[in-house]
Symmetry: C2
Subunit: 243 residues, 2 copies
């Protein structure tokens, strides 16, 4: 892990950009911390530059509660090399949604499974590097989408103790089986009329999670309409489980 730049934001949060091999990432740490800060991994749909305004807002919100936050670029997104297969699957999904057609399992599998397979080891490598830094301590939470990445991470990565998962994208059937193996506390966010997701599928996934403590927060509106107060709810959820 190599830091490439740092700046102090006006609320005292330290923002450091880094690269991990060829993967760019960003780490935010609270301005003042007496003990090592729990770390929240911020999931997103890919494209750090495009997502930056929302990511930095989430990170500052977390930092106000004493949490560090970090994110890395997804495979085939942002400045990273593209995948022809992923672009094709994404185009097929977009076509199906725009035509109002049911989304074929095959498309979802082609789009999501290779992404999960490639991204999850990268997040775990980032976790290794981040947890070796001074001022960052366990436990660790995962927050956001891609929900399938969060599901796989929650299954394979024992350092993740709690997750706020955003049910805002299609999930391959194969990952429902993995969902049943999850036992950590979960808070699941669902936008009731998410134009890029299927409500019943999201409810079925919530039902499938093996966790005994899981809460679904369903709010009105489309994909990008998650209410501001859910940021506070996420902080309180992590405060209950990461301290």
């Amino acid at each position: 892990m190599r830091f490439t730049s740092d700046q102090r934001l006006d609320d005292g949060v330290l923002e450091r950009r880094f690269t991990l091999g060829e993967i760019p990432g960003i780490l935010w740490t609270p301005g003042s911390a007496s003990a090592p800060a729990p770390l929240i991994l911020l999931g997103h749909p890919g494209g750090l530059h495009r997502m930056y305004p929302r990511l930095v807002a989430r990170a500052r919100h977390s930092a106000a509660e004493g949490f560090a936050a970090a994110t890395i670029e997804l495979p085939w997104s942002g400045d990273r090399p593209r995948s022809a297969a992923a672009e094709e699957a994404r185009a097929d999904l977009r076509r199906a949604l725009e035509a109002g057609e049911p989304v074929d399992d095959g498309i979802v599998d082609r789009l999501v499974l290779p992404l999960v397979d490639k991204a999850v080891p990268e997040w775990r490598a980032a976790l290794d590097a981040l947890l070796s830094l001074p001022g960052i301590g366990g436990p660790v939470g995962y927050a956001g989408g891609v929900i399938s990445i969060g599901v796989r991470l929650a299954v394979v990565e024992p350092r993740i103790s709690a997750a706020v998962l955003f049910a805002g994208s299609f999930v391959p059937r194969a990952l429902f089986e993995e969902a049943r193996q999850i036992t950590i506390p979960l808070q699941v966010l669902l936008q009731w009329d998410d134009e890029g997701n299927d409500r019943q599928m999201a409810l079925d996934l919530f039902d499938a999670f093996g966790s005994t403590e899981k809460t679904l927060h369903a709010n009105m509106g489309g994909h990008i309409g998650v209410p501001q107060f859910e940021g506070d709810e996420g902080n309180r959820f992590f405060a209950r489980h990461l301290r």
Copy 2:
């Protein structure tokens, strides 16, 4: 409204029992309040004596946020005269649930519609009396079950500005139409495996509410397993909407 007793609880909350005509009720007000306190009506399934421990816990929780709280006995419950028709409908419902049979719309209508028709005017009369007391000011929230009473109240009573509804009982089909007319902010609590309710019906009801701000909080467990942290979530919801 006639006060019949009062006591100061150890956290300073003033608990006053009253009767409104023949209807018993309880009012809790915060120990210290500089301005008139917003009022939260505490819904419950009937039986003030049996429900008292949970009601007083909820009222103290609300009082800690500066809210007054009040409740009245339901028709045909507690010390009030019984209804043979209601008892019969309740027995029919219990039999169907114990036999694992689908719950017939007719049973639900017989059980709930007369209750709503009789209870809602009583809650409104209580509201008239409560809002005329010094130290109690609008706006007003409704919190709890019977959800069908909350639905009807939210439709007909303009003084109710926000509601936390507990989806823990069957709702007559006729009330789905009323649900569509509701426009106030709602937070709906659903126990995912509520043994006395139907999950899909509750999700359909949530979908039906006309409010643009509505949030569903679904948690694991049965009817009486609502997690403690939902008390805080209810307080924060009312703090957003009643201040």
